[in-house]
């Protein structure tokens, strides 16, 4: 009996020593939750960069020069696994040269020294990011600061923030709606080979749509963006077709053997917040 008693006490001790976590799990779904695991999120964003464990560089207190970094989009709706370009500009750069761009998820530890792509036409800077499937749907606020250099000296700009709204892929036959700003969604086109019809409704104010398939732009309401360029707000007005036509149909050939997904990029007219649009992607026929 004593042995049994001791045995039961051992079980009681085992029960009492159960491990406890620090954050409550919200869903059993595997992946990184943008709201509860921001440190992993900060490190999981796919981009060309170098991760630094230190403090995020910000403008020094009392810095003699105050240079703004401007995020050209407040919010970007982005589908998992789609490549998003975050447009940034430095209006008062003057003779200073960009020598570094820093990025981090707000609230996380560490930051990225991230590679930028300089747009040859607009002199905007783009940071390319992809949010892999490992990241669950949700909102991610990222902040940027730029390092500007001249004659071996450097200053850091003010910070600029962008909200990335991460959305899962949609099945074909779905409609996407939006307003101004950038929306990037991935559409699962199913297994049937055929022609895909896309309808683009722009209402009264023109918006821009580009479609990527197998990593290439295959459809655009404007000229295809050249290498190193991205669809952007300050494109010529003809990129935003409003000539009395509020909707248009587009077609593309789809083969599941090439890729099962298409990526739809829509740029709502940036200067007019009253814009609205609908893209419907039919299943292949």
């Amino acid at each position: 009996m004593t042995a049994m008693k001791n045995f039961l006490w051992i079980i009681v001790i085992v029960l009492c020593s159960c491990k406890k976590g620090s954050v409550e799990m919200q869903s059993s779904e595997i992946g990184i939750d943008p709201s509860t695991n921001i440190n992993a999120l900060n490190r999981a964003i796919q981009l060309k960069g170098h991760f630094e464990e230190g403090t995020f560089p910000t403008k020094a207190v009392g810095a003699p020069v105050n240079i703004q970094l401007v995020a050209n989009q407040d919010t970007i709706e982005i589908g998992n696994e789609t490549r998003a370009f975050i447009p940034l500009s430095i209006p008062d750069q003057g003779f200073l040269k960009l020598c570094g761009m820093n990025m981090k998820v707000v609230g996380a530890t560490g930051y990225w020294d991230v590679a930028t792509i300089n747009d040859s036409v607009s002199s905007d800077y783009f940071v390319e990011v992809t949010l892999p499937n490992l990241i669950k749907s949700g909102y991610i606020r990222v902040t940027f600061s730029a390092k500007l250099c001249f004659n071996g000296q450097s200053i850091v700009t003010d910070t600029a923030s962008v909200v990335l709204s991460v959305r899962p892929s949609l099945p074909c036959g779905s409609s996407i709606t939006g307003r101004n700003g950038l929306t990037i969604r991935k559409i699962d086109m199913d297994n049937k080979k055929g022609k895909v019809k896309l309808s683009f409704i722009t209402y009264g104010i023109g918006d821009r749509m580009d479609v990527k398939y197998n990593g290439e732009y295959v459809l655009s309401t404007c000229d295809f963006p050249k290498k190193g360029q991205y669809p952007k707000c300050n494109s010529p007005a003809e990129c935003f077709p409003i000539t009395g036509q509020t909707y248009k149909y587009y077609y593309l050939n789809y083969d599941p053997a090439v890729s099962r997904f298409i990526e739809v990029y829509v740029l709502g007219w940036c200067d007019n917040p009253n814009t609205g649009w609908i893209v419907t992607v039919d299943c292949p026929e």
Partner: protein
């Protein structure tokens, strides 16, 4: 709260066993005489037949109730829609990534105690080999999921490893019917009560190679999520079954299995947990 309840059950079980055993022993040893009406009469041939069966020592009256404790390693095999769905993860549409992953089974330890009642005490009857068992055991269930994402669009090596480990503790209360004395088989149902658990998420990101942007780096992030009844079923009904061999009157070994599909509330995950146990019987 659940933990306190389980401790209470466990301690209660122990005292119940203790008191019942004492009672049974008293009944058995006070008279080497006819047993109560409800129980079969002991007789010489009966005593002989019981000497072949493990729990009742030779020449004694078969006890009404026995207490067992058991302990041993167990392995958890997770399967079901939840796992199948996660495997879709590895099919990436992005030609710039390669994703691979694995699910690994976990090895744990299980322990518990049970009371066994022999309702048919006529030793010559084949029914005397039937006993009913009620008990509690401590179980841990879980699995490990590892994903490796490689960014192939860069001219250097860039890898993201995500490791997720689920480890949940349960108090399983089982009711079984057992047939056989020295060699036996048993089966029944079990209600597994969720006690607590942790989901550990560990991310490792590293870049390497001569072209690594601003040089190679390695960084990690780790978080422990507390599993609660918000996402876990507080209790779930499952099956238990096993076979065992009573080596001596006191010691035995059994292969015991717990099958339960109520793990997550929002997704179907089935856990099959076989365990190899040492049993200690207390007549």
């Amino acid at each position: 709260m659940a933990r306190c309840l389980s401790i209470f059950f466990l301690v209660s079980l122990f005292y119940l066993c203790n008191s019942q055993l004492v009672l049974a022993q008293k009944k058995g040893s006070s008279k080497k005489k006819p047993a109560p009406k409800s129980v079969s009469k002991p007789s010489k041939p009966a005593a002989k037949s019981e000497s072949n069966s493990s729990p009742a020592p030779s020449g004694q009256i078969m006890k009404l109730i026995y207490g067992d404790v058991f302990v041993g390693p167990s392995m958890n095999f997770a399967s079901g829609d939840y796992i199948d769905y996660q495997k879709l993860y590895y099919g990436t549409s992005n030609s710039n990534f390669s994703i691979s992953g694995t699910f690994k089974n976990q090895t744990f330890f299980t322990a518990g105690a049970q009371a066994r009642v022999f309702p048919f005490r006529k030793p010559e009857s084949p029914l005397s080999a039937i006993s009913f068992t009620a008990g509690l055991s401590f179980l841990r269930k879980g699995f490990t999921h590892e994903v490796l994402l490689v960014n192939t669009s860069l001219d250097y090596k860039d890898e993201t490893h995500l490791k997720e480990e689920f480890d949940a503790s349960f108090l399983a209360s089982h009711v079984m019917v057992r047939y056989g004395k020295r060699l036996y088989a048993e089966a029944g149902i079990s209600i597994d009560w969720f006690l607590s658990g942790v989901r550990n998420q560990e991310l490792l990101r590293k870049s390497s190679g001569a072209n690594a942007y601003q040089g190679p780096f390695e960084t990690t992030a780790n978080v422990d999520y507390n599993l609660t009844t918000k996402t876990m079923n507080s209790q779930s009904l499952g099956w238990v079954f096993g076979v065992g061999y009573q080596i001596t009157d006191m010691f035995g070994a059994r292969f015991f299995n717990n099958l339960n599909s109520g793990f997550f509330k929002d997704s179907k995950l089935q856990n099959y947990q076989p365990s190899l146990q040492i049993t200690v019987s207390f007549p």
